[in-house]
């Protein structure tokens, strides 16, 4: 039997990142403020986690202007979604084994 722990993704080791990915799994896109309100984080904290996820190609960022206001939106990549699903499966298997 394959060790379920091996499918746990290191990138999701933070609960904040887990939260970001969860939200992006069920919403096509979310903007910075929506994520901030949802996860109740400071600007800086959220930004650094988003940066890390972006660097690992788990999410993509879109920066645009809505009128004169800058708007930054995030979307999960296919890679990100697949890794998240793997991670979820591993979690569920771990629970099943407890």
């Amino acid at each position: 039997m394959k060790n379920p722990i091996s499918n746990l993704q290191k990138v999701f080791e933070s609960r904040i990142r887990l939260g970001i990915m969860s939200a992006l799994m069920v919403n096509d896109t979310l903007d910075f403020n929506a994520l901030k309100d949802l996860l109740e984080l400071t600007d800086g904290n959220l930004a650094s986690h988003l940066k890390a996820l972006e660097q690992q190609a788990i999410i993509v960022v879109f920066k645009q202007f809505v009128g004169r206001k800058p708007s930054t939106t995030y979307r999960a990549t296919d890679l990100g979604k697949n890794l998240f699903r793997l991670h979820l499966a591993a979690l569920e298997e771990l629970i099943g084994n407890q």
Binding site: I5, S14, R15, G19, A23, L38, L39, L88, I95
Partner: protein, 212 residues
Amino acid sequence: MKTNSINPKEDLQAIREIMERSSKFLSLSGLSGIFAGVCALIGAAVAYFILLDSGHVQYDEYLRSLGDSPTNDIRLNLGIDALLVLVTATLGAVYFSFRKAKKAGQQFWTNSTKRLVGHLLIPLVSGGIFAIILVFRNNIELVASVMLIFYGLSLVNAGKFTLGEIHYLGLTEIVLGILAGIFINHGLLFWALGFGLMHIIYGIVMYYRYER
């Protein structure tokens, strides 16, 4: 904030909670809008060509000056017509949206859905009651305007919980409702525009944006 090795159960709960909390109500299908619009147009056509005899029955003057049964019949039939449109459109909307959610492997009746419906209902029911009051007070000429305005308000209210397009649909309905109040003899026309044409347009836009 490290997680996994300690407590996968909590992680899964956290994941589920965030998903629930963040989910915008994606399940409302564009096809619902098109279907509702078509129902409304059919209802308006029935009202115009059959009940009002192709415009021979003048909508407001005639209905106000006549005291009794022919007027009441027409009024009753119009009411039934509107009610049928509402029921059919709602059933269709639920059907198409349920189908869409199922296809995407999602639940239709989530907490977000419940919140959405709750916020839709408050202005909608108020408007409905007010419209009935107007009918009883023989102010039928304002009914189309009232229905459109309250419907628009309910959409704007619901727009906070779902995709943004509903917000603009709501504003459009409000504007149409105000126009229907100004051009009082064309209530049915605005009703057809607001509940018929606008829904079809909205449905098409939603379908092409999110479901193709």
